[in-house]
Structures are given as C-alpha cells and as structure tokens.
C-alpha cells in the first residue's frame, strides 16, 4: 500500500461495473487502492481481515439480495462508511439503505467525472462525524449515570441521620413521647422511608439504563414470593381499607428467576395498585400457567382503581412518566417504579403489560420463564434414548452457625456448590442450580441416576469433601447434612418419561423444602417504605 492511499472494498458481482469504478478512481489523489470481490461472503471475509476506509456495495449479489446485503455488511463493520452502487431500476432499494445507515448511493452508469471520488470523501467525513457524535453521547450518558450514582450516594448520609434520630425519639431513648408527638414522628419516619425508596429507585433506574443490573437466577417458588409480597403489603392495604386477595395456582413448577428482583417487581405493582385504588376497592394478585405458552408463567396484579387512559398505557412504563390526573397528586414519587419493573422483567426474559379501562380498574401482568427441569434432566437421565434404571435425589443442606449468617456466607455456598459438582458423574448426575432460600440455609439437590447403594458412596464422598472446606469451618460450626430420597419403586416401570422424573423431582424438592422458609433474603427498599407501620 502506497503512503497516503485510501483503501476501498468494492463488493460488486458485475466485472464490467467493477472495472468502471476502478477507471473512475484511477486519477484520484491521494490514490485509491481498490480491493474488489464478487460475492458478499468474500466481502465479509475480507472485512474480518482488514478494515477498509470505505465500502462500495452493490446490493444485488449472487449470494445476497436487497436490504439484507446492507444489513449484513453493517453488522460486520458498523463503523465503516458504506456507499451503495445502485442500478437505474432499484433506486428505491438504495434509498431504503440510506435510512438504515448507508452514507450515500450512486447510480451506476451515470457516474460523472469526479463524482465517485467526491461521494467517497464526503461519506468518510460524515461517518467520522457520526462516530464522534456517538462517542460524546456515550460520554454524556456515562457522566449522567456517574452523577446520579453520586447524588444518590450523597443523599443517603443525611437521610440516615434523620432516620436514626427519628427512631431514637420514636423509641423513647430521649424520653417518653405523648400520643400526638408519636403521631408526628410516625409521619416523619414514613416520609424518610419514602425518600429512601426514591433514592433507591434513582440508583436502580440509572443501573437499568446503563445495563448494570445483575440478575441472580435461582430455582424459585413463585407462590412463596407472592406470599412474602402479600405479607409485606397487606398492612398498607388494610390501612386504606382496600381488600387484598391471592390466587396462586399450586400446580406451578419452579420459576427461573432472581427472588429479590421478582419480589421487587411485585412490590412495585402492588404498591401502585394500592395507591390508585380508592377505599373499599380490592386488589388481587394471581399467578398461573399460560395454556398457550408452556415455557412461561404469568403473574398479575389487578385493582379496582381509576384505570388508565388508552393513550397512557404504553407511556407508563417509560422513565419519569407521571399521570397528570392522578388523584393522589401530593405524593407522586419519581415515576421510576414501572420503568424499573419493566427492565427487571425484561432481564428475566419475560414481558410486562397492562390491561385497563378508565373507571374499570387495571391489571398489570408479567411473565417469567419456567425453570425447565425437563430440559436439564434429559441428557443425564437417559442413555441411548432410554431412561436409566433408578434415581435418587440427594440433598445437601448447609446451615450457618449464626442467624443471620456472618461473613461471606454467599460465597461459601457457591464454593460448596462447585465442590459438589466435582463429587458427581457429570454424564449421569445433575446438580440442580441453587434453590431460592432465605440465605440463612442453603439446600443443593442432585438428581443421581443410580440406586441407593451407589448413592451412599456418593454421599460419603460429598461429606468428606465438604469437611475439607476451610471456609465452612471458619464460618462457625456450620452444619452440613447430606440425605437421599430414592425414587419409589413400583411393580411396573412407572417412570418411563423424563417429564415424570422432572415432576417427581419437583414434588420431592417442594416437600423437602416445605418445612423451611425458602424466601428472598432482604426486602427491597421500596417494601421497607411501603410496609412501614409503627
């Protein structure tokens, strides 16, 4: 390549047209080095090797046609300017490519002297300008996010102070309060908690926008999360004389979700429902299977409130949306709740929507993916397309010495899980992902394709390995208990289907966990404010 020459990739299947382009560029200064290929596949391969300064692209090639051609080039080299070479008869196609991000188009056969060269220069300049605009946009976004994160952090210190001293007065640490004074303190505390929830939402929305929300997926009983949300919000509903009902289908298998986040979404929706439902109204929270979609469940929160106008139905999920006609206009909040809820649901792979008529109440619904035990089990419980002979469900329970657990309990649990992975045969035993538990106690389950005798050997191995885990010892005298439940043996081959094994596993786990609390660890900040009663 000569010093200062421009490198251009020409993707054009017609040799005549390609030669014409070369001819037009022969006298360009600085000189142009044209690399010509005849197929899109060759063009994409060339882009993988070297990035040209510009791409001249014919949209109709032997291996790709029309807009699709441009889309694939754009996908491969989003930063390289593209000039479309169009025939007389398919100018419309070229215009469409412009809308999709092409820099320019030229009609082949009508290229004036110097026109191609000029178009190329402008295309390169425009692309560079676009790139710098995009960069400064990202910088601004980053700055805004940092700013918001800083603000919400700084707000916390004075907030904490008010919270602490209000509680000190409320709890009588500075002398007894009379009834009226207690009432005033209670109002202060309620407002502080609202403020706290807003600060939390501010940070959460910033995170959602910059894609920094983490989802910690667990094997989750949606019934438990609904119950917990109900327990937190019932008081608030009662205070407002709003009825509160639950309808959870108990046949729902486990859901694949982050217990804290799902709870946050539910609390958000219930909080809104209570806010917009007048006294003597009612709220219903339901969770059910979706007949048309076996991979998801649907959770809904219905109210008998004022309803939502059709034009607002899509807007309410956007950031900072406020209903201009809301009844309770004095405490509007930041308008981030539904935005955060939507982002959280999306991160789970679900969707959220509302059905509402003004005056008829609203139903907010969201879907969550089911935890597909069936898919996970398939490769381990079958061999040559046949189900293996016997199955045992092995349970490993970790109990911390202290309640709540101290130190790095979460990490100890995840290290134990790794250790457990090494105690099983990966081709015929399945270590299930962690179950959502209260965090104080963690249960791991292994579906082992084996009989009880072999399961005993595996359990001994697990006990030995766990005993070696130093951190587990360091976390106090934490208990590790390992137990096994064999699949019941019937006179006939009962479990012929993987699905039956999956059902058996689900039922057995549900029964085993039934006695313990398997609920999210901490209530989200919003719940703390909503559930406040003193």
């Amino acid at each position: 390549m000569k010093e200062g020459s421009r490198r251009v990739l020409l993707i054009e299947d017609n040799q005549g047209d390609a030669d014409l382009v070369r001819l037009r560029l022969i006298d360009s200064k600085p000189s142009v080095e044209v690399n010509c290929v005849h197929r899109l596949s060759e063009g994409l391969a060339s882009l993988s090797e070297k990035t040209p300064e510009l791409i001249l692209l014919d949209l109709n090639l032997p291996d790709s046609h029309g807009s699709e051609t441009f889309r694939r080039v754009l996908e491969k080299a989003p930063d390289v300017p593209v000039v479309i070479l169009s025939g007389q008869d398919d100018e419309a196609l070229a215009v469409k490519a412009l809308h999709q991000g092409a820099q320019d188009y030229l009609i082949k056969g009508a290229l004036g002297n110097g026109e191609l060269d000029r178009a190329m220069r402008y295309a390169i300049e425009r692309q560079a300008l676009l790139r710098s605009l995009e960069m400064s946009r990202q910088q601004q976004m980053e700055f805004k996010n940092q700013f918001l994160s800083h603000v919400s952090h700084e707000l916390r210190t004075p907030l904490t102070c008010i919270h602490q001293y209000a509680n000190i007065l409320m709890d009588g640490l500075a002398g007894d309060l009379n009834q009226e004074q207690r009432g005033h303190m209670s109002t202060i505390l309620k407002s502080v908690n609202q403020l706290g929830a807003m600060v939390h939402d501010l940070l959460e929305a910033t995170r959602a926008e910059s894609g920094k929300i983490r989802i910690d997926r667990r094997c989750l009983s949606i019934g438990d999360v609904v119950q917990l949300a109900a327990a937190m919000m019932r008081g608030l509903a009662r205070d407002k004389h709003v009825g509160f009902e639950l309808g959870v289908d108990d046949k729902i298998p486990f859901v694949d979700g982050d217990p804290d986040r799902v709870l946050e979404v539910l609390i958000n929706l219930i909080d809104n429902a209570i806010k917009f439902t007048p006294a003597d109204g009612a709220i219903t929270v339901q969770a059910r299977l979706i007949p048309t979609d076996p991979d998801f469940i649907c959770v809904s929160v219905s109210d008998t409130g004022c309803g939502i106008k059709p034009e607002a139905r899509n807007l309410i999920f956007e950031r900072l949306y406020q209903d201009p006609d809301a009844i309770d206009n004095s405490r509007k909040g930041l308008g981030l709740g539904l935005f955060i809820a939507r982002e959280l649901v999306r991160l789970h792979g679900g969707r959220i929507w509302v059905v509402s008529e003004p005056g008829q109440g609203s139903t907010f619904s969201f879907t969550l993916p089911l935890y597909s035990l069936h898919k996970l089990l398939l490769p381990v419980v079958t061999y040559n397309n046949l189900l293996r002979d016997a199955f045992v469900l092995v349970r490993v329970q970790l109990k911390p010495h202290n309640r709540p657990p101290l130190g790095n309990w979460k990490e100890i649990c995840s290290r134990s899980l790794e250790l457990l992975q090494r105690c099983v045969y990966l081709d015929k035993d399945l270590v299930l992902p962690p179950m959502a538990t209260s965090g104080a106690e963690q249960s791991f389950f292994v579906v082992a394709s084996t009989d009880m005798a072999h399961a005993e050997i595996m359990m001994t191995r697990i006990r030995e390995q766990m005993a070696k885990l130093e951190d587990l010892k360091a976390a106090g005298e934490s208990q590790v208990s390992v137990s096994a439940i064999p699949q019941p043996e019937k006179g006939q081959p009962l479990h012929r289907q993987v699905r039956e094994i999956a059902d058996w596993t689900t039922e057995t786990i549900q029964a085993a966990l039934g006695a313990t609390e398997h609920l999210p660890r901490k209530p989200p900040a919003r719940a703390a404010s909503a559930g406040f009663e003193k």
């Binding site: 602490q164 509680n167 000190i168 940070l203 983490r214 101290l406």
Partner: protein, 136 residues
Amino acid sequence: MKENKKMKTAKILIVDDDPDLRQALRLRLRANHYETVSATDGYSAIAQAYKEQPNLIILDLGLPAGDGFVVLRRLQDDDKLSEIPVVVLTARDPQTAEQRALHAGAAAFFQKPVDNAELLEVIQATLTQTQSNLAS
C-alpha cells in the same frame, strides 16, 4: 479480650466521619447496654482499636485518612487486631462494595440507612460467635 470482658458489657468502636451519625449510633448502642468508643477517620480507627481493644467495630467505608478498605486490611494484617469482628455500615452501593468488604474480612455489610433491629441482631450474633470461637 480476657475473662473480665466475657459476658459483661461489650465494647464497640464506632468509626464514622459524620459526627451526628456517630452520636446517633452511640445513643442506640448505649440504650442496648453496649459500651462505645469512637473514631473519625481511618488512622484514628486503628489507633483506637489498639488502645481500646473493642469487642466489635462498626466501620464506615468512606473515611478520610485511609478509607474503610484500608482499615479492614490493616486490621487483618495485625495479629493484635485481626480477631476483632467488623460490621460495615456504609452509604455505598452494596452491588459494588458488599462482596469487596466481605472479602476483606468484614463479618457483615449494611447499607445506610439501616434497620436498627437488624443491625443489633447481627451485632449480637457476631459477638456471640467471637466469644465461642475464643472459648474453643
């Protein structure tokens, strides 16, 4: 931490650069029969820990003269101080700070504003465990 302190009032070192918050924590802890001492920055936190030999430290992370993480490391590196359990109480985002603090040796992590009942429960549990560790 010898016999004379066992089961008697535990001494808690409060490290926070905000005087009002220190005072609030002091009131709260004293009401729950803990003895308190305090420090305002990273440097004096270590000095106070040496001098007072507290049973537990409540530590803010954003501190002048050596932030909370520096304090955690110094405590861990020092034979005379490494046994003192630390409860972190900070305005920082748990998503970025919690794992880091627990890694550095903190016994528990709380974001401000904290629920007092929860904080007191963890303080009690931590003290009980430290005591049983020492006994064994």
